[in-house]
Amino acid sequence: MSDAVASNSDKPSMLPKHAARSWFSRALDSDIFYSFLRSKLTMVAAAITVLFFLLAIFASWLAVQNPFDPAQLQLLNSRISPIWTADGQSPFLLGTDEQGRDVFSAILYGLRISLAVGVAGVIFAGALGIALGLIAGYFGGTVDGVIMRIADVQLTFPAILIALLVNGIAKSILGNRLDANSMLVVLVISIGLSFWVGYARTVRGSVMVEKNKDYVAAAQLIGLPAPKIMLRHVLPNTMGPILVIATINLALAIITEATLSFLGVGLPDTMPSLGTLIRIGNNYLFAGEWWIVAFPGIALAGLILSINLLGDWLRDALNPKLR
């Protein structure tokens, strides 16, 4: 996320050249990398998270069919149980659902959508929250009061409720023009608007500490404009906590998207995310076809658990009190 911010500012080439190299070698001997190597659980979690991202990125090469393409689905292949059971059939590793969709392929594509919505939601929430937090902390006064009151009010309500409301309002404004692709955008916006408060509060807090330091006074004295001071000088010093929030929020964003899709207000059956797959599979639980819901559920749980473990470790590793 820090890269995105840096490239947005006007002169990215102003960074000294040796900074990049020494950053890498510094990272290798840093306390954080050391504590990463010390924690086996974190390494496993990181490996699983990376694996999930790779599966999502290479979904179209790994899947035996494109589950979003109705022409590739055959009803003859419907409700086949996983390959290791008595009725399993060869290409369908984890069985098929009622439309003849290969569960493994559907999970890969669903994972791609869940991760895309989650990452986009976190970036949107982060950009919004960081911008508002910087403005509130740097300028203070009335602006600060208004932004933080809104944040306080919103914080009393759980994210899922806000996401549902934004979702409902978007639907009523857009009416019947909502297809799967615009639903993706609606989901990202709902998630972004539900999670910006955490960033805004943290950034505001750090900015209020940082802005009284001498380096900010120096930057102001040489006449740098406020946005530049905020982005180039103050923001980098608040990056640690933001990274922790972003990691934990990624898990929350993925849960929120899955929940919305499970409740039937997220992605439609034609473009299923993991949550949609679980909702579809849930209908077949009583018929004994457990694999339709179990594997997407395991994938979702594994993904969230490993991201949460990473987030927990990152929080402890970046907390100087715990070293």
Partner: protein, 326 residues
């Protein structure tokens, strides 16, 4: 103390006012209410008549005041999908949601405190580590997955508990309760666990952290020096001081429990307000959405207010600092 209470009450009214504006603008601007009531081939003159009868041609501030006045009397208009007054629909379903939320909170408090105290006092035992692992899973697993897992285990495989609905309910005036029948109690078990699990993990982590912190303080060391029994130190001195934040959090979380019951109610087809709200979002039934938002906000704001005031009653130190600040 009075000044503090008044200030907090004013803040609460301000929040409700803001939420009211949001609910009103949803009601008024997100889609045309007239279109929801008339059919597509209604002539324009008739549409105008409907518009006039709903008062939609009045100035917006007038409409807002009227909407707020009606909302204060629990009149939220007519649902687009059910063609019934929204308040009647909500009242009919509120007991189910409140009962579920209360059972879930009790479950979370009792188990959360017990597990938290145990894992703080016997930090290195296997059971304490197991609790920590369970709490991580409880936070990581989405609510609906836990619900599906429970249904698969106890309803589909073992057949012990019903997988949906409230069971038999008894009518007490306008309130319906499932607490007085066996099938009602059985139907409550799985939804309560599903809904309460997240709060339980939060409470457990909080109790554990607070206990560990309190056990390091000087007055506990002093109590040890005085030769008090371990039991008296742990439960009489340490636990008592950890309970204030725990009760605060459980209170503040009660609103979230009601909001999260949206998910649990959908999984278990529990006939409460949450499922009504989800249907409203699916079918763009704005009057129900707006009314639900107002109701839940009212619950949230009231709880926050009560907890804040109780906090100053319970903790005298806060009273003095607030008094000085004011």
């Amino acid at each position: 103390m009075l000044a503090f209470t008044l200030r907090r009450a004013l803040q609460a009214i301000g929040v409700m006012f803001a939420v009211g504006i949001i609910a009103f603008s949803m009601f008024r601007f997100a889609g045309d209410p007239v279109n929801q009531i008339v059919s597509i081939d209604t002539p324009a003159a008739e549409r105008e008549a409907v518009r006039k009868s709903l008062g939609l041609d009045d100035p917006v501030p007038v409409q807002f005041v009227r909407y707020f006045g009606n909302a204060a009397q629990f009149k939220f208009g007519v649902s687009y999908q059910f063609r019934q007054p929204v308040s009647a629909l909500l009242m009919e379903r509120m007991p189910a949601t409140l009962e579920l939320a209360i059972c879930a909170t009790v479950f979370a408090m009792v188990l959360g405190i017990l597990m938290g105290v145990y894992s703080a006092l016997r930090r290195d035992t296997l059971l304490a580590k197991l609790f920590q692992a369970v709490s991580l899973i409880g936070i990581s697993l989405p609510t609906f997955l836990i619900g599906i897992l429970l249904i698969y285990l106890f309803a589909v495989t073992l057949g012990w508990l019903p997988s949906f609905g409230r069971g038999e309910v008894v009518k007490l005036g306008w309130w319906t309760t499932g607490l007085l029948t066996l099938s009602g109690l059985k139907a409550l078990i799985m939804p309560s666990i599903t809904l309460g699990l997240f709060q339980m993990t939060l409470i457990m982590r909080l109790v554990r952290a607070e206990m560990l912190e309190v056990l390091r303080t000087d007055y506990i060391r002093f109590a040890r020096a005085r030769g008090l029994t371990t039991r008296a130190i742990h439960f009489g001195h340490a636990l008592k001081n950890t309970l204030i934040p725990v009760i605060t959090m459980a209170g503040l979380q009660f609103g979230s429990v009601i909001a999260f019951s949206i998910i649990t109610e959908t999984v278990f087809q529990w006939p409460g307000m949450g499922i009504l709200f989800v249907q409203a979002v699916q079918n763009v039934d704005i009057p129900i959405m707006a009314a639900y938002l107002l109701m839940v906000s009212l619950i949230f704001v009231t709880i926050n207010l009560v907890v804040d005031i109780l906090y100053t009653v319970v903790d005298p130190r806060l009273r003095s600092t607030i008094g000085r600040a004011a």
